[in-house]
C-alpha cells in the first residue's frame, strides 16, 4: 500500500473515533506532533512540582502540609504517565530529559513565575490546575490510545488539586485583613498567567487545525479560555475577591464574559526563557538529574550483580 492510501486509511480511522495504538501505521508528522506535545506536557508536570514543592516545609498546618505533599506527588506521577506514553512513540526517556535540560524542549510558561506567599498555593490549585483541567479533559478522548489513557488517569487525580486550592483561598478570604490581602494579591498575580496557559489566540496558532483534524485537540485555545474565564468569574464571587481585569464584564448578547487584552509580549518573553524563574527552574532540574546519577548507576550495578548471582545458582 502506498503512503497516500495509508494516510487515507489512517484519517478514516480517526474520523470513526477508532484509537491509534503504538504499532499502528501513522504519519511521521502525527508521531512527531504527539512526541512534542506529550513530552512538553510531561515536562510541565515535573517542573510544575517546583513552585509548590517550595512551600511544603512552610505549610501552616499538618493538614495543609499532607495535602500539598500529596498534590506534588501526584504531579510527579502525571509526569511519569506522560513520559511513558511518549516513549511508546519511539523516543527514550533519557532523550526527553536531555531535551528538557538543554533548554530545547518547552514546558508550560506558568511555572516560571515565583511563589511568593502561602496564598499562592491556593491560587495555583484553583487557577493553574483549574486551567490545566479545562485543557486536559478533552484530551481524555485524544486519538492516540496511550495518551488518552494517561489523561484519564490524570484527570481523575486532578480534581482534588483544584478543590484544595479553592478551599485554601476560601479560608484565607474569611481570615483577618492581612490574610484577605494576601489572598487577593495571589489572585492578582496568577490570573493573567493562568489564562495565557491556553496558548496563543486561534489566529496565531497555525498548528491547531491539523491537530483538530487528527483529534489530538478537540477545542480551540480561545474556546477553552472563554470557558475558563466564565467559570472563574463566577467562582471568584464566592471568595468575595476580584479578578484584576477592569474590562471583565458579562456580555448578555454573547452569553459569555468579555475580558481585557492579554499581554502576549509577556507570554512570548517567558516562553523564550526570560520569565522570572526560567533559569532557576532549569538549574534545579539539572542539578537533581546530575546529583542522582550515582543512584541510577549504583542501582543498575546492583541489579546486574544480583542477576549474575541468580544465574550462577541456576547453573
Amino acid at each position: 500500500m502506498n503512503t497516500i492510501d495509508l494516510e487515507k486509511q489512517f484519517q478514516d480511522k480517526i474520523d470513526r473515533e477508532i484509537r491509534i495504538e503504538p504499532r499502528d501505521w501513522m504519519p511521521e508528522k502525527y508521531r512527531q506532533t504527539l512526541i512534542r506535545q506529550i513530552s512538553q506536557h510531561a515536562h510541565s508536570e515535573i517542573v510544575g512540582m517546583l513552585p509548590e514543592g517550595n512551600w511544603i516545609t512552610r505549610a501552616p498546618s499538618l493538614r495543609r502540609k499532607a495535602i500539598l505533599l500529596a498534590k506534588v506527588q501526584d504531579e510527579g506521577g502525571h509526569g511519569l504517565y506522560l513520559y511513558s506514553a511518549a516513549e511508546t512513540l519511539g523516543i527514550t526517556r533519557d532523550q526527553m530529559y536531555e531535551q528538557l535540560h538543554s533548554g530545547k524542549a518547552k514546558y508550560s510558561s506558568i511555572f516560571n513565575y515565583p511563589t511568593l506567599t502561602w496564598a499562592d498555593m491556593g491560587a495555583i490549585g484553583w487557577l493553574v490546575d483549574g486551567a490545566a483541567i479545562m485543557n486536559q479533559v478533552p484530551l481524555c478522548r485524544a486519538s492516540y490510545g496511550p495518551y488518552a489513557r494517561a489523561m484519564v488517569r490524570i484527570c481523575k487525580e486532578e480534581s482534588f488539586h483544584q478543590r484544595q486550592g479553592f478551599e485554601l483561598l476560601l479560608s484565607l478570604s474569611k481570615g483577618n485583613e492581612a490574610q484577605r490581602k494576601m489572598c487577593q494579591d495571589a489572585i492578582n498575580r496568577w490570573w493573567w498567567p493562568s489564562i495565557m496557559m491556553f496558548g496563543p489566540t486561534d489566529d496565531a496558532s497555525p498548528n491547531s487545525e491539523q491537530s483538530m483534524r487528527w483529534k489530538i485537540k478537540r477545542f480551540s485555545n480561545d474556546e477553552l479560555r472563554q470557558k475558563f474565564v466564565d467559570m472563574i468569574a463566577e467562582q471568584v464571587k464566592i471568595l468575595g475577591m476580584t479578578l484584576p481585569d477592569p474590562d471583565l464584564k458579562w456580555n448578555e448578547a454573547r452569553g459569555h464574559y468579555d475580558f481585557g487584552a492579554i499581554n502576549w509580549e509577556e507570554f512570548w518573553q517567558v516562553i523564550s526563557g526570560n520569565g522570572p524563574c526560567n533559569k532557576q527552574r532549569l538549574d534545579t532540574r539539572r542539578k537533581a538529574w546530575e546529583d542522582g546519577a550515582w543512584v541510577r548507576e549504583a542501582a543498575a550495578a546492583h541489579a546486574a550483580k544480583k542477576a549474575a548471582r541468580a544465574q550462577q545458582h541456576a547453573a
Binding site: S84, E87, K104, R296, A299, A303
Partner: protein, 121 residues
C-alpha cells in the same frame, strides 16, 4: 538529535529485539529497563495493564508501581513484566489473523431462534 528510534512498548514490541536495554545510542544504554505494570484492583478480578515505568530490577519496579499506580487504593496485587519479554500480534496482519472468527455467528446465543414459550434459556 532529530532521530526517532523505532521502539515497541506496551506489549507492542516485536520478536528478535531486546527491548529497552538494547537501544543503539550510548546515552540510552544507561537507562533502567522498562517494565509493564498489571494491577488487580480487587480480589476476584483479573490483573489489568495500567502502564509502564523504568526500574533497575523487579523489586524496584513493584515498589515504584505501588507509588505511581496505587496511591488511592487502586490495587491489591501488582505484576510487573520487563517489556522486552512481551510478544504481541502484528496489527498489520490483524485482518487475516482474526478472519477465522469472522463468519461464525452460530457461536453466539442470539443466532438461535426459539419459541417464546421456552423459558430460562
Amino acid at each position: 538529535m532529530k532521530q526517532y528510534i523505532r521502539k515497541y512498548f506496551y506489549g507492542d514490541y516485536g520478536e528478535g529485539r531486546n527491548g529497552a536495554a538494547d537501544i543503539s545510542t550510548g546515552q540510552a544504554k544507561q537507562e533502567w529497563p522498562l517494565w509493564e505494570v498489571f494491577i488487580r484492583s480487587r480480589q476476584g478480578l483479573d490483573h489489568k495493564h495500567v502502564g509502564s515505568l523504568h526500574a533497575a530490577d523487579a523489586q524496584m519496579a513493584i515498589e515504584n508501581a505501588r507509588d505511581v499506580y496505587t496511591r488511592r487504593m487502586e490495587g491489591v496485587s501488582i505484576w510487573v513484566v520487563e517489556s522486552k519479554h512481551i510478544h504481541a500480534s502484528n496489527p498489520d496482519e490483524a485482518e487475516s489473523f482474526y478472519d477465522p472468527a469472522n463468519d461464525k455467528v452460530y457461536r453466539h446465543p442470539t443466532f438461535y431462534d426459539l419459541p417464546d414459550a421456552v423459558k430460562h434459556m
